[in-house]
């Protein structure tokens, strides 16, 4: 193990090298590009003996991975924003063909208007495609999640694709110290993918095919059952991860100071770090507040969310995206999970950090103030006003 100073994007690239990925395919998009630039360099320098397929679109990038995975190769792609939206059709194909692809997603706002800022709309729009979704808070988590994602995706009980999401710029282009494990330790945790080709040369068989309703529903049910097995499998994978690397990944949700909390905030990704600092500050002032970070959004960890928030009175969910005509996407998930709780907390949907607006400690303090003042039915847009001290043009 060595400690390196890595951006979130280069943490993805390092993990891909360590995972001995065999086929990589990608198309450039900001702020993803530095991931695959680094991988291309690994291949060029002979540090990763992989086929790098340079394609003419993200749609083709994912098709390359789907087809390569069918023959049994370990595959990787990475994208962001518009690129992920263009992949949408192939997202279903990847999951339906049970292709254990791992994809790095740098969460970026969707146009129009153009914005390169952090925003979760791109990956949340893929919730129903059959992919496992991880959201990282730190660059260390990015590297660890990619290795974990391959183990999980290739597990015989699962065999589903997985995406590892990181916030644009806050992680993708920000460097942090990252423990990079040695190749032999990674090899022991993540052996080469073998024996799971779904398309075998010389064998008459059809992958994809055409079905009547009776068979179609069986395929969908098998895929759903595979998704059901993700969280139990995650438990054993994370136990092994701890043994191999001496670090705990923390499960699908990570509670922070929820003991005795009456108000709790639910976050994804980098907002969690800021929120944790504010929780400490407010706790020191006597406020009974806590935090729940969601690491795995698909499958949604209903039982874990319910258990973590069982004794909280008021829950606020911070969504860094907006779902038109509904409420915050994560807020909707949390509400659904809590419906069967014996004592249902109120749930307030907060929208903030959209399109790359900074989620500051001051903003998180306002969320908790609002929460402690009582629940609101309607979603609250928390940062519509210009930033203090910011420049107003025009």
């Amino acid at each position: 193990m060595t400690q390196q100073v890595l951006s979130g994007n280069h943490a993805q690239s390092e993990a891909v090298r360590l995972a001995r990925v065999q086929v990589v395919s990608a198309y450039p998009i900001t702020p993803q590009t530095t991931i695959v630039e680094e991988i291309a360099d690994f291949v060029a320098q002979g540090r990763l003996p992989a086929e790098f397929v340079r394609v003419e679109s993200e749609h083709s990038a994912l098709q390359v991975c789907v087809s390569a995975a069918a023959l049994g190769a370990r595959t990787y792609t990475a994208t962001s924003s518009q690129g992920l939206l263009l992949m949408h059709e192939l997202m279903h194909w990847a999951a339906g063909m049970r292709a254990p692809i791992v994809m790095g997603v740098v969460n970026r706002a969707v146009a129009p208007p153009w914005s390169a800022g952090a925003d979760h709309t791109d990956s949340l729009a893929q919730r129903d495609t059959g992919w496992i979704q991880f959201y990282a808070e730190t660059n260390q988590e990015v590297l660890d999640m990619v290795l974990e994602a391959y183990r999980l995706a290739e597990d015989p009980a699962v065999r589903l694709p997985a995406m590892v999401c990181e916030d644009a710029f806050y992680l993708s282009h920000t460097v942090e110290p990252v423990d990079v494990p040695s190749p032999d330790v990674v090899d022991a945790f993540l052996p080469p993918r073998r024996g799971r080709a779904t398309l075998v040369p010389g064998v008459a068989g059809r992958l994809g095919s055409f079905t009547g309703p009776e068979d179609y529903v069986k395929f969908r049910h098998a895929e759903a059952a595979a998704m059901e097995s993700v969280l139990p499998t995650l438990g054993s994978v994370e136990a092994e991860f701890l043994t191999s690397f001496g670090r705990s990944l923390g499960g699908p949700v990570v509670p922070y100071r929820l003991d005795g909390a009456t108000s709790a905030l639910v976050t994804l990704g980098t907002a969690s770090t800021t929120a944790r600092g504010v929780v400490d500050e407010l706790r020191a002032q006597g406020h009974r507040v806590g935090l729940l970070k969601v690491r795995v959004l698909r499958p949604f960890p209903d039982a874990e969310v319910r258990a973590a928030l069982a004794d909280v009175m008021r829950v606020g969910v911070l969504d860094r995206s907006w779902t038109f005509g509904s409420t915050g996407a994560v807020a909707a998930e949390v509400r659904a999970a809590l419906y069967s709780a014996p004592r249902r907390p109120s749930v307030t949907s907060f929208l903030a950090g959209i399109g790359g607006r900074d989620i500051t400690p001051g903003l998180v303090r306002r969320l908790f103030e609002q929460l402690e003042a009582g629940a609101t039915e309607r979603p609250l847009w928390m940062d519509l006003e210009p930033a203090a001290g910011g420049t107003v043009h025009g």
Partner: protein, 308 residues
């Protein structure tokens, strides 16, 4: 009469669900006779999605991968990359797609595959419309042909635009090998498949595949109509290697294109003037091929003759 020298092995099984007289079924039959059992076939949404028969059966004796309609070029790039990464050196990767899936919605991934020099074969079977969805016009539908989306009426006379020149588009990418094939000429078809198989790099086959329900003719006449397409010069058989074209069927005198057109209901509305336009176009295309062959170059696109 040449001796029939087709390999006896069949990789398209009886029991497939093609329509009677389906030339795309013959195209895959001849293709696989030339490529053999260590072939992986990538098929997007097209007639062959259905012809290959539904789960849990398959009409092919080789491995087949389904993909969405626009993905064939990318899919065969992925299969090749995986075969190379996994050391499956004896595997032949082939994409088989329709004219819409190739020259319309799949043009981008075809271009990508050719440009990145994927070591694979791409066969486009051209039945000149979206036949699997019910005879809708594609970019490959010929001028004045009736389809369900280019009807004939007081303000329209079938497809108003000329057929897209897919071979010209492919040639501009300088593939290792590009050839036209026609199931009415099985030995020529096989010879080109075998030649393509022996080469490395991107290879493209344009197969002319008549469709009885779409072209409105009796299913017993598929071979006859396919033969006429080549004998009239409308679909010449040739191959292009290293920028040089070589005709593989040559005729001292071409049959009139009218003989081809009048056998199909999709052209039943054509006037004599329209037939003359098509004849002028076909003759110009044939002469350009002869000129290019003699000059040792590839043919250049012949400008479409506009309607009278």
């Amino acid at each position: 009469m040449a001796k029939l020298t087709l390999p006896p092995e069949e990789w398209v099984r009886s029991g497939h669900s093609a329509c009677p007289g389906c030339a795309p079924a013959l195209a895959l039959r001849f293709l696989l006779k030339g490529l053999g059992p260590r072939t992986v076939v990538s098929v997007p949404a097209c007639c062959w999605t259905v012809i290959a028969t539904p789960y849990p059966t398959t009409a092919l004796g080789v491995a087949m991968l389904d993909s969405p309609i626009e993905s064939t070029g990318a899919s065969i790039s992925g299969l090749r990359a995986a075969a190379d990464a996994l050391g499956l050196d004896d595997v032949t990767v082939v994409g088989v797609a329709g004219d819409g899936g190739t020259s319309d919605i799949g043009l981008q991934s075809l271009s990508g595959m050719l440009e990145r020099r994927t070591n694979a074969i791409y066969l486009m079977y051209d039945n000149e419309a979206y036949m699997n969805t019910g005879i809708q016009r594609s970019g490959a539908t010929p001028w004045r042909a009736w389809t369900t989306t280019t009807p004939v009426g007081p303000t329209a006379r079938g497809k108003m635009e000329p057929k897209k020149d897919i071979m010209g588009i492919v040639r501009a990418h300088r593939p290792v090998y590009a050839a036209t094939v026609n199931p009415s000429f099985p030995e020529d078809f096989l010879a080109k498949v075998v030649k393509a198989r022996g080469l490395a790099g991107p290879r493209f086959l344009h197969a002319f595949t008549p469709c009885p329900p779409g072209w409105r003719y009796d299913s017993a006449r598929t071979i006859e109509i396919g033969s006429l397409a080549t004998e009239t010069g409308l679909f010449p058989l040739y191959e292009v290697e290293a920028g040089r074209v070589r005709l593989t069927r040559r005729y001292g005198r071409l049959k009139p294109v009218r003989e081809y057109l009048e056998r199909q209901g999709r052209f039943a509305h054509l006037t004599d003037e329209e037939v003359d336009v098509i004849q002028t176009q076909v003759t110009a295309g044939w002469e350009e091929l002869l000129r290019a062959e003699a000059a040792g170059t590839a043919p250049t696109a012949v400008a479409p003759v506009l309607a009278p």
